[in-house]
């Protein structure tokens, strides 16, 4: 595989892994949501994310060739080969953690895909166009929850404050480009994520104003996920996700 193709497939895998891991994490709520309607909502969001991941894995498999398939990429890579951001692999926590994380991620994805519409890579531009419609709903749904809980009761507000304290240090990584992100951004294929940060912060500020929450002043952020250095949580998630294919290789429904 040529160097450029390798870099592009790394980038596509990074995008795919973000969507798959958050989709898998959210799907843990299936049957456990606070009320039936919200159980359905979060699992529908999972479905959208896993659908986006499938489109991206199919493209990555095409770039990698050599017998790669979307299933092999999702089910047979180890934690160190995953390039997702740490934010998406963190435990689901309570409803405040789940909805605040979804808001942080969806607001980022929205800005990312709006830029990716202009990618010189037509496949990525098409996936961005398709996904953007879905992400619009995710941003709205998650924003409403952040406001509802943040500006709710003392208990719900405290839960949101705790979620914010847990998650904030993992948001910085979204906007610090890895080497492969820098390369594809320079080629007009990928998005320069560092350019998204100001707009993202503005969106967070707008929602936090209504939610009576304050953006933390800490400037130190956790990182490593994009290079395959993960938290201890990813291994457990993958054990769950990949069990069937590891135990029964090639098994189909």
């Amino acid at each position: 595989m040529s160097n450029n193709r390798q870099i592009l497939s790394d980038y596509v895998l990074h995008l795919a892994d973000n969507a798959l891991i958050l989709g898998q994490r959210n799907s843990e709520w299936c049957g456990h949501g606070p009320v039936l309607e919200q159980d359905i909502a979060i699992t529908n969001i999972s479905l959208d994310l896993i659908g986006q991941a499938r489109s991206l894995y199919q493209y990555a498999a095409q770039l990698i060739g050599n017998g790669a398939t979307e299933d092999r990429l999702a089910y047979l890579r180890d934690a160190r080969e995953f390039r997702n951001c740490l934010l998406v692999e963190l435990p689901r926590g309570d409803w405040a953690v789940t909805t605040l994380r979804q808001f942080f991620f969806s607001a980022y994805q929205m800005l990312l895909f709006q830029q990716m519409l202009h990618s010189s890579d037509t496949t990525l531009a098409a996936i961005a166009e398709k996904s953007l419609k879905e992400v619009t709903y995710h941003v709205r749904w998650s924003s409403e929850w952040v406001i509802r809980l943040g500006d709710g009761t003392e208990e719900s507000h405290n839960r949101m404050e705790n979620a914010l304290a847990d998650l904030w240090a993992f948001t910085g990584e979204l906007f610090v480009p890895s080497d492969y992100e820098k390369s594809v951004a320079d080629n007009g294929i990928g998005v320069d994520v560092s350019s998204l940060k100001d707009n993202w912060l503005q969106k967070v500020q707008d929602v936090f104003n209504e939610a009576t929450l304050t953006i933390p002043t800490t400037t130190w952020f956790q990182s490593g996920g994009k290079e395959g250095i993960h938290t201890e949580h990813l291994g457990y998630l993958l054990a769950d996700l990949q069990f069937l294919q590891r135990a029964y290789p090639g098994m189909e429904w």
Partner: protein, 168 residues
Amino acid sequence: MATNTNISTQQIWSLLEKVTDPEIPVLSIIDLGIVRAVNHSEESGETEIVITPTYSGCPAMDVIRMNIRMTLLEHGIEQVKITTVLSPAWTTDWMSEAGKEKLRAYGIAPPNPSQQVCDMKLFAEESVQCPRCGSYSTRRVSEFGSTACKSLYQCNACHEPFDYFKCH
């Protein structure tokens, strides 16, 4: 089964009207607007069906692909290639008027035109007409319903809970 070589592109479009959405069986894939092109070569007998998904993760798409194959095979069309395209992205504006009426009769409120409502305003609710009694006094119970393409509503007039095929 004999191979049917004398079939026209128009006849293939008609056959595709028999392929329905497995989640909403009153709607054909033509009503939904997900068939983007039919490319049929009368010389070689090869047929390409170009489709686009409603939502990225719609689990019905795999079933729809299989049903297209089976329906065409029943009519002797064997060499079928199904191509999936993502752009331009599907919109509920592509749903046929006949399809919208079928939805209403089935008890699902059809989608409003997208330019009116697909925006980012928080806590806003679309004015959706109750498919049972026709009242516009309805309220959204949840943004997401039984499938990705629907949200849950309830009518304030007749109290009927119903699905709304949301604008997309």
